[in-house]
């Protein structure tokens, strides 16, 4: 069965205020041991997965490019030794603009990382600083040019919309600058306020306004229009790609194919079981150091859980769900109000429907 491997690198130069990923600034001293631990975890985890066809590898974070290219190379080589990584597998590395230059990118490409996902977030200086990102728009241009120069032909740009201070105009300019660069893939996320983050606390205390959902809805519509005009296909709520450049690794999550997660806090999934590694890097190091799998928790998916996941993931990737899955009468109001449409016997969300996906999921599967 085709499988994905995810590797988590929890280091960042600084922490962004909105971020609730398992990411840490100031732990750079742990990097050498962390790389060793990852190699070790590959050994520990590989048994039982050797028969799986690995079609994608994704190095995410955090900021994986804070590690040396040599380490990243060794890691990928080791994965190749231990797993059946298919020839032509999609291998992605995430990068932040200020952590890469042409030399490093060339080295990564050489090592086998053929797809680059870059955290651009915005081309508006005030938005970047409101997000507490350390880079500026020029860094994005520079890093993108470096990627092309290094030979990258499959690049994603990540964008975030709806931060405090961003209006519809500014967002549209960010989109236009993005498509001007002609990346193969674009992810655009509505800024979500997570309570347990510095930004979450500022919103709770009223120091920063919460994003306006109506403005975010308008921004979503703008993204759909601009990206579609520029030839990108909308294939998941927050993802667009030039034909053939859809992210295979992420599609694996949404199509409920198995994945193995390595590194602090990484999640894995296979059949009816999902499990996750311990989150704090020190604990992860300790566990792996003593030769155990660093599993921190797990859940077994009951059929009802699996069904709910299947429904909401299928709706997310616009594959839709067969009309026959839904009790008669439930979908009609949404077909009438234009939130769903029927595409050969499948109920598929419209652009407006995608923004109300939670409601749709609960109405159809709840």
């Amino acid at each position: 069965m085709s499988t994905g491997i995810y590797v988590h690198v929890p280091f960042c130069p600084t922490r962004c205020g909105y971020c609730d990923f398992n990411a840490y600034a100031g732990l750079d001293g742990l990097k050498p041991r962390y790389v060793t631990a990852l190699l070790r975890e590959v050994e520990l985890a590989a048994p039982g997965w050797d028969d799986q066809d690995v079609v994608s590898v994704f190095l995410g974070g955090g900021t994986p490019t804070t590690l040396d290219a040599a380490d990243l190379k060794a890691l990928l080589a080791h994965l190749g030794d231990r797993f059946a990584v298919a020839p032509g597998a999609e291998v992605t590395v995430e990068a932040n603009p200020d952590t890469v230059d042409e030399a490093k990118l060339a080295a990564l490409r050489d090592a086998g990382y053929g797809r680059l996902s870059m955290g651009a977030q915005s081309f508006d200086r005030t938005v970047l600083s409101s997000l507490e990102r350390i880079h500026d728009p020029d860094s994005v241009h520079r890093a993108f040019a470096a990627a092309r120069a290094a030979g990258y032909e499959n690049v994603n740009l990540d964008l975030i919309y709806g931060a405090d201070g961003e209006g519809l105009d500014s967002w549209e300019r960010t989109l236009l600058e993005t498509v001007a660069l002609q990346p193969e893939h674009v992810s655009a996320y509505a800024l979500t306020i997570e309570p347990a983050t510095p930004l979450g606390r500022k919103v709770a205390s009223g120091a920063v306004p919460a994003p306006d959902p109506d403005l975010q809805a308008d921004m979503f519509a703008t993204a759909c229009a601009v990206l579609c005009d520029a030839g990108y296909g909308h294939y998941e709520v927050s993802n667009w790609a030039k034909p053939g450049y859809e992210c295979r690794h992420n599609l694996g999550y949404w199509e409920r194919r198995p994945y193995l997660g390595l590194g602090a806090g990484a999640h894995s999934y296979r059949q009816d079981r999902r499990w996750w590694n311990v989150r704090p890097p020190e604990e992860y190091l300790r566990r792996v150091g003593s030769g155990e799998l660093p599993v921190g928790g797990q859940e077994r998916l009951e059929p009802a859980d699996a069904y709910l996941e299947e429904v909401f993931l299928r709706l997310r990737i616009l594959e839709g769900i067969p009309a026959s899955w839904v009790e008669p009468g439930r979908a009609e109001p949404f077909l009438e109000s234009g939130l769903l449409e029927l595409d050969h016997d499948a109920l598929v969300p419209t652009e407006r429907g995608m923004l109300l996906l939670n409601e749709l999921v609960l109405a159809l599967a709840g």
Binding site: A190, A266, M354, L355, E359, L362
Partner: protein, 602 residues
């Protein structure tokens, strides 16, 4: 039987927090009624609820022995809701200690209770408490009290209930200044029920004051108002634990175990006499049915446990003769009960007991008063805004009014007068107790008090003004029913009866409040306030456009699924009004008038 000349029956009247309970503790100690090791603070406040709220809901009587005298300390409830019960407790006494905090001075309840005590013909023993406090100003407060009582300030005793200073002298003054009771052991029995309680094991226990004759244990007795006959299973006194004695003689105070199963058979204010030909011909005067003043609909929060609510009310009623209830059906809230209460505090106590003792979750509609609707000669009484007929179908509406006493520092007098005026008050009089403190009397519609008067009073006077009031009859008023419609559907639970001049403002306020409480739906929801067919306010909750999780990758899937499940559970708790889903919390928040209406007052 103690000779009447050796008996003193008295109570302590005071504004809340002026130290009544603390003084009662000192008196118990001083007379050795409670061994020191058994002394627990505020012995006389019995129920947990009371202890927490710091109030005394149920009156109780304790017999103290001192210097060869039998002293009966009768505890009176301190809150306006229970004015009638206060008056019955006072009727069991010949004297009252008027206790005033020497740092706070005279407050509205001091005045209201003083007037009740004076009207009941009691000898007043004035005392200043808390003289140990550095902030105490006993000379000034004694002067104010002197003016109030028309007596020399030197007659005002000075004590500290905390340290005990002055308490023996106070007890002496009670013996000297309070007259002993009258009564003749050979006359037919007349005993006043001034309190009753329900005990799960022993049934109804009444607290009685014998006025004439003798009440022997095991006698066959009759309640003169309810005409119920039963056996006096046990007579006794609280000293302060229940101690059976063979009989209660004239002038004495004690308890009586009736063997009855329902407090409605032995009502406060009723007269007990002997059954058969030895019974008295006439009852003691002053019996009155307790009359609910404030009404509210109580509904089970999550539908379905209507029968639990009914059982709980049935049980509660056994120990609360003032509670009224009748079934009510609301389109929005389902099956519940329209309940009548003596006042806002009584309402809160009942709600809290239902939630705490019976583990129910309730939604209460905004409290309202009763209205009398006159068509020619015919008068209908309505306790539910939803039953208020449409304008033009009746001649006039009458609403209850109260006589309100407000005591305020002079600095806030202007604010108090403005408030009373804006709440349709009619000023009766106004006077200064001292250059710093003023006393005003107003006749106010009860509905205004039930709305938010007390909170407004507290906030406009920084908590310094105090309020007391008593029922004062009815007045004709230009009242209209304001309805609230969601997406065209009237929500009966939100209907309210208000004065025409305020209907617009009220409608606006409700509509604006609901706008923040009704979650956005998949379509625009109109919220309208109407009087009859006229729309007086309108807002729209715009359709929601975005409800989606931005990201969903490997690690997020479990979390996102859980979020969806939670959202699903949330939906299950919504109530449907027409096509609109309304969360429980929105009902609760929209119906909340203002929290502290009774709590602040205690």
């Amino acid at each position: 039987m103690t000779e009447t000349s050796r008996i003193r029956n008295f109570c302590i009247v005071a504004h809340i927090d002026h130290g009544k309970s603390t003084l009662a503790d000192r008196l118990l100690e001083l007379t050795h009624a409670v061994a020191d090791r058994d002394m627990r603070a505020q012995y006389l406040d019995k129920m947990d609820l009371e202890r927490e709220r710091g109030i005394t809901i149920k009156a109780q009587a304790v017999r103290l022995a001192h210097d060869g005298y039998e002293l009966n300390l009768i505890d009176t409830p301190g809150h306006v809701d229970f004015t009638y019960e206060v008056s019955r407790s006072l009727a069991a006494c010949e004297g009252a200690i008027l206790l005033v905090d020497a740092a706070q001075g005279i407050e509205a309840q001091t005045l209201a209770n003083y007037h009740l005590a004076r009207d009941a013909g009691l000898a007043i023993v004035p005392a200043l408490n808390k003289i140990d406090l550095p902030a105490a100003d006993p000379d000034e407060v004694a002067r104010e009290l002197g003016v109030l009582l028309g007596r020399d300030p030197s007659e005002v005793l000075r004590i500290s209930a905390k340290t005990g200073e002055g308490v023996p002298e106070l007890l002496r003054a009670v013996i000297e200044r309070v007259p002993h009771p009258g009564g003749d052991a050979s006359k037919p029995l007349q005993a006043l029920i001034f309190d009753s309680a329900f005990d799960a094991y022993r049934g109804v226990i009444t607290y009685v004051r014998v006025h004439e004759g003798v009440l022997p244990s095991r006698a066959r007795i009759r309640m003169m108002a309810t005409k119920v006959e039963t056996e006096a299973e046990e007579t006794g006194v609280m000293s302060p634990e229940a101690t059976p004695i063979s009989q209660l003689g004239p002038g004495e105070v004690g308890y009586l175990v009736t063997g009855l199963k329902d407090v409605h058979q032995a009502k406060v204010g009723d007269t007990i006499t002997l059954a058969g030909k030895h019974g008295a011909k006439e009852p003691l005067h002053g019996y009155r049915e307790p009359k609910p003043m404030v009404w509210s609909g109580l509904f089970p929060a999550e539908g379905g446990d209507y029968s639990d609510l009914r059982d709980a009310l049935d049980k509660l009623k056994l120990s609360d003769s003032a509670l009224h209830y009748e079934p009510e059906t609301s389109q929005a809230l389902g099956f519940g009960f329209r309940c009548g209460f003596l006042g806002l505090l009584h309402m809160d106590i009942v709600k809290e007991r239902l939630e705490r003792e019976f583990d129910l979750e309730l939604i209460a509609t905004a409290p309202n008063v009763e209205f009398r609707i006159a068509r020619g000669e015919e008068v209908t009484v309505v306790h539910n805004p939803a039953e208020m007929p449409t304008p033009g179908t009746y001649d006039r509406v009458e609403e209850p009014v109260v006589f309100a006493t407000v005591v305020t520092p002079s600095d806030y007098l202007g604010a108090v007068l403005d408030l009373c005026q804006s709440r349709r008050g009619e000023q009766v009089d106004m006077s200064y107790m001292s250059p710093e403190r003023a006393e005003v009397h107003y006749v106010l519609p009860l509905t205004e008090i039930v709305f938010d008067f007390f909170d407004q009073l507290k906030s406009r006077t920084r908590g310094y003004a105090s309020l007391d009031y008593e029922p004062w009859g009815y007045q004709t008023a230009d009242l209209v029913r304001v309805d609230v419609l969601l997406h065209g559907e009237p929500v009966d639970a939100f209907s309210s009866v208000v004065h025409r001049d305020k209907a617009y403002a009220y409608g606006r306020q409700m509509v604006e409040r609901l706008k923040t409480l009704i979650p956005r739906q998949l379509f625009d929801v109109a919220i309208q306030a109407t009087i009859g067919s006229r729309i007086v306010a309108r807002e729209t909750v715009k359709a929601k456009r975005k409800d989606v999780l931005a990201k969903c990758y490997g690690g997020d899937i479990t979390r996102k699924r859980k979020l969806l499940e939670e959202q699903k559970r949330g939906k299950a708790r919504l109530r449907r009004v027409g096509r609109v889903d309304v969360p429980q919390e929105a009902f609760i928040a929209a119906l909340r008038v203002d929290e502290g209406a009774s709590k602040g007052k205690k």
